[in-house]
């Protein structure tokens, strides 16, 4: 009856509302079940805390002051968010690099292979070199993210700029556009929403490197906290933190998606 496997199905209102949440609920149920079983076996189990314990963990991190009089969750979120945005801004420069590489054959020659290789270097394995170059402060944390994510953005923008229809560039030239204007007034505006999509898909990598960086040296930050309490198996703190991080990244993603959909209505075709 219901045309689940039809490419032109039009789900009704009810389906639109309910279906997206099914898997979340399933996950939640599985979790509570697992937690229940483990707690029956060992009432002191810390690895899979019960929901009550999780809520308690949230309360402690979000609404109770620690010894410094800080509300940890907010302090951590603020510290991480700052790094996140700084890194994001720097990474966005990768869009310009990729654009130029995609448009100018000489720059492509010069940079492409290097970025392709550099992109594959597992940054996390080279931390000592990172320390030597960038020190121990905020710079090295942001640098880790940038080194980890920027090449992907560069390469992706590069590909998009390269597959941009030549006809439109030619058209722009006949309208008097200089080579630079073609880049910034023709190619960039056209591929920008797609590039934002890429950025969106890479938020995840940003978060990953952010956490990794914070685990190394920091005094606050979401990743930092996870790694500190990890030694005590405080999953009642870790799980809410992880969900919180995911939510933040998800919201950033959502806002970007919203922005793309509304700002670039011409994309709808």
């Amino acid at each position: 009856m219901i045309s689940v496997f039809k490419i032109n199905a039009r789900p009704g209102r009810f389906a639109c509302f309910v279906l997206p949440w099914v898997l979340f609920v399933v996950c939640f149920l599985l979790y509570t079940r697992a937690s229940f079983v483990r707690h029956q076996e060992n009432p002191r189990d810390k690895l899979v805390p019960t929901v009550t314990q999780l809520i308690d963990g949230v309360k402690r991190s979000a609404f109770e002051e620690d010894r410094k009089g800080d509300l940890r969750l907010w302090v951590d979120s603020w510290a991480s968010t700052k790094r996140f945005f700084i890194a994001l801004i720097i990474i966005s420069l990768g869009i310009l690099i990729g654009l130029n590489m995609g448009a100018f054959p000489y720059l492509e020659l010069f940079f492409y292979r290097f970025f392709l290789f550099f992109d594959k270097v597992p940054a996390l394995a080279l931390l000592p070199i990172l320390f030597i170059t960038f020190g121990l402060g905020e710079v090295s944390k942001v640098a880790l993210i940038v080194i980890g994510v920027m090449p992907t953005i560069v390469l992706d923008t590069f590909l998009r700029a390269k597959e941009f229809p030549r006809e439109l560039n030619i058209k722009a030239m006949t309208l008097g556009a200089s080579h630079f204007e073609i880049l910034y007034r023709v190619i960039l505006p056209n591929i920008f929403p797609k590039v934002l999509d890429t950025l969106r898909l890479n938020l995840k990598a940003v978060v990953l490197f952010l956490i990794a960086g914070e685990s190394l040296a920091a005094t606050a930050g979401l990743g930092y906290r996870i790694f500190v309490v990890r030694r005590y198996l405080a999953m009642d703190i870790i799980i809410p933190y992880v969900i919180w991080i995911s939510l933040l990244a998800f919201s950033a993603d959502f806002l970007l998606r919203y922005w793309i959909r509304h700002k670039y209505q011409w994309l709808n075709k």
């Binding site: 439109l168 058209k171 006949t174 008097g176 007034r185």
Partner: protein
């Protein structure tokens, strides 16, 4: 000064084909065009008309031979040659009006100027100019739409407005009326003629509609791969290059005159019929700028 605004000398174009061979598309094309001419180009489908335009445009370089505009070798597309592509090429991120204004803005604003020295009055002027052209092609009420919201014919007209508004020295048009119904097509023909006269343009107009070609052209060039001695890989040549004697612009009624259908018939027969294989020496290259001798004829 060069008397010819456009010169093609011994132009060949080849494309890679299977097994690393090259397939010749255009073979020894010689064409001279004086300023202010309205050259219509016809030919069997796939003969290389679009290829010819790309060479003049500079988006492709000839395999052999030279393409010169105002005596200078063509290296890349430039401001002095406008184009309306066969497959409409509007910028999909801009509304119709913005598409038409785009060239005007480019010419006036430098890239930073666009962000800082924003000249409002100038913008307004451009907008008015764009609207004037949109009005002419009958798209004024659709000026806020994005290209994907337009029908095929509307896109073509927008592309024509976009190219026209720039008043290029040479305007290249590749079957610009392909998606238009007869009425609109006639209106657009009149629009092209009017602009041509007013702005003193040089136009190269590719079409598959013979009637249109004869009605519009001050000169008709027929490109064909069908001529005696041409195997499938020989490439197209100009098999006919004749002036059309009636003064431009012409009344539409001329389409019904006997002379008109005679010309159409002869072109159809000699130029477009794949079974009629002309000898190369018999090519009818009567036009003044053509390389053969010219004879005089009566046009009334």
């Amino acid at each position: 000064m060069h008397s010819h605004i456009l010169e093609l000398n011994g132009v060949y174009q080849k494309y890679p084909a299977k097994k690393k061979k090259m397939r010749t598309i255009l073979s020894d094309i010689n064409l001279q065009v004086s300023p202010g001419e309205l050259v219509t180009v016809v030919g069997p489908t796939g003969c290389g008309k679009s290829t010819l335009l790309r060479l003049i445009l500079g988006s492709e370089r000839p395999y052999q031979g030279s393409v010169k505009v105002n005596g200078a070798e063509v290296k890349e597309p430039a401001r002095n040659r406008g184009i309306v592509f066969q497959q409409y090429s509007l910028f999909s991120n801009l509304t119709v009006r913005k598409n038409v204004m785009f060239g005007l803005e480019l010419e006036y604003f430098s890239l930073p100027g666009r962000f800082f020295g924003f000249n409002k009055s100038k913008l307004k002027e451009f907008k008015e100019k764009a609207d004037e052209y949109l009005q002419r092609v009958g798209l004024l009420e659709h000026s806020e739409k994005y290209p994907h919201e337009l029908s095929g014919g509307m896109r073509q007209r927008a592309a024509i407005a976009q190219a026209m508004v720039m008043k290029p020295e040479i305007l290249l048009m590749d079957e610009p009326h392909g998606a238009l119904d007869m009425g609109t097509r006639e209106e657009m023909q009149i629009f092209v003629l009017e602009q041509w006269k007013q702005e003193n343009l040089t136009v190269i107009f590719v079409t598959h509609d013979l009637e249109e070609a004869v009605f519009l052209g001050s000169r008709i060039v027929v490109l064909s791969q069908f001529y005696a001695g041409n195997t499938s890989s020989g490439g197209a040549k100009i098999v006919k290059d004749v002036p059309v004697g009636w003064e431009l612009p012409r009344p539409t009624s001329i389409k019904h005159s006997k002379k008109f259908s005679e010309i159409m018939q002869s072109i159809r027969h000699e130029g477009l019929d794949p079974h009629f294989l002309q000898e190369i020496r018999d090519f009818d290259l009567r036009h003044n700028d053509s390389l053969s001798l010219n004879t005089t004829e009566n046009w009334d």
